[in-house]
Symmetry: C2
Subunit: 341 residues, 2 copies
Amino acid sequence: MPDELNSGEGAPAAPEKRFSDGLVRGVLEGDFRSVARMITLVEDGGSGTSSLLRELFPHTGRCFTIGVTGSPGSGKSTLVDCLASHYRGLGLKVGIIAVDPTSPFSGGAILGDRIRMQSRSLDPGTFIRSMATRGHLGGLSRATADALIVLDSAGFDIVLLETVGVGQDEVEVARAAQATLVLVVPGMGDDIQAMKAGIMEIGDVFVINKADHAGADRVEAEIRALVSISSRRDGWKPDVVRTVASEEQGIDLCAGAIERFRAFVTASEEGRGRELQVQRERLLELVRSRVLADLMSRPGCAELVEALARRVMSREMDPFSAADELFACVCGSSGDSRESK
Amino acid sequence: MPDELNSGEGAPAAPEKRFSDGLVRGVLEGDFRSVARMITLVEDGGSGTSSLLRELFPHTGRCFTIGVTGSPGSGKSTLVDCLASHYRGLGLKVGIIAVDPTSPFSGGAILGDRIRMQSRSLDPGTFIRSMATRGHLGGLSRATADALIVLDSAGFDIVLLETVGVGQDEVEVARAAQATLVLVVPGMGDDIQAMKAGIMEIGDVFVINKADHAGADRVEAEIRALVSISSRRDGWKPDVVRTVASEEQGIDLCAGAIERFRAFVTASEEGRGRELQVQRERLLELVRSRVLADLMSRPGCAELVEALARRVMSREMDPFSAADELFACVCGSSGDSRESK
């Protein structure tokens, strides 16, 4: 845990305040180094970051965020590369965030992935960043949402959010994006059925990548069938496009499909409902994590949790009664705890 | 939302109480229909279920839970089939829970998967259940943990917990199991690197499935290299075994490796540390969700969340200030709210 942040929250000393001011200014000026430093702060999740994000937030709202998800081996990184080049070609400022499904134990990052990404970092107009979860459920969604505030306020026009895997957490991350591309590839076997069910409603655009491989027609027909029977709350019918990202084929079509969806989400009432939903859930998540942080910071609370967990383990107590006791501890004295600050 | 539960919580009427008693008794007697009904209740997540789970909990502690995870196409279902047969052959009562990465929007289940599972449901001694997330982060982990209480109290000796995908949520689910098998298959390409980083520390046993395919030696060498350099907190060095589940090859070896790990977690202090950690996190998660449920059940709160989300959307307010306001609402009046019950 970064001490600088925790101490900074309670009583911000002059040098730290100066540092923060410089950092916020740097981000707003679009300085890559400041952006990178700020994202590291939000990734570490120190409570002091929210005051910095508060300063950045009024400068957001212009960036469009595109999530790219799909199973391992579907060519996400390559497609993200191509889309980045496409938008760079239009003179836009592009950010890429690659989200790693890192171990919840070690908090380490994926070396191989970072090395692969080096090849994309040659263009000085593209900011690239790999982000990893730091061990608690919901931590990655929060950190990603915060990083999007940073990039948006730094003047990025497009942010590509690449997530590895198709699990629930990737889904949560993908929902932070304004448009979500789901990649599928020919010949994935029976498991595509399972995957499709999970991603069907998060896909705003479906991309059949590696469309030069055998089985492209079949997978496209399957996706189109699923799109035609799905009824999204917002009424959107996703486009299905074919690409061969490794050959830079189909990228314009893909960008066009994204543009069509962008018009829908920004110009229609139904489309705007999605952002409202995202903001609503984000608020609730912020409150949930704050309650937990507040709880754990109280003296003796970690010990109480430990003692209760031991009693549950030995079957002296059931987990629900133990949670009752902890809940009483959260809500019984939180008023006092806030007054004593 | 099942009304029967919500109304049952506030003022349990006589017929509902009788229904609950019958259900609890049915579960404890191992009646499959009662078990299925109870799992549906915990899956729906009604607050009334905790009183039923409280009654079941003292009867738990005998079951051993084995998580099986791995990327799509690695043959999880087939291996789970084989392991179920193995334990059935030992005369044990076996439960299977297949966790679906379902859409967070619709809460639907995977038809294809359920159909596939029918083939396993012929043996009357095996209970099979597919579970899906119901839209909120952490909901699946909670529901899975609750379902394990149900199966444990119903006298199941072994529960196999199959998760699709390798995302953060699958990791959370896998951690609810007492032993976690990670399946890898030969020839997965570069993305295995990414996956391995995410799953390295959750794998208690690594299974090279489809070991008759080309590349088995290479993937085994890679996994063994990663195992040898990894340092788990509990000091365990995972076994690496080869299987061809579709041919029922290597199942005994796999079961032996599970047995070795089971002895470790049940007999050693380090091993027991894992369960303590699981219980600790479970407690915190229970408190987090209760706080949120408590918040959302207050009159006017849903409207406040909606109004704040709209202000954030229009950039009138930043999300952190909005969360401040909600947080004050949670902790400012929760004492009163509890007294008024």
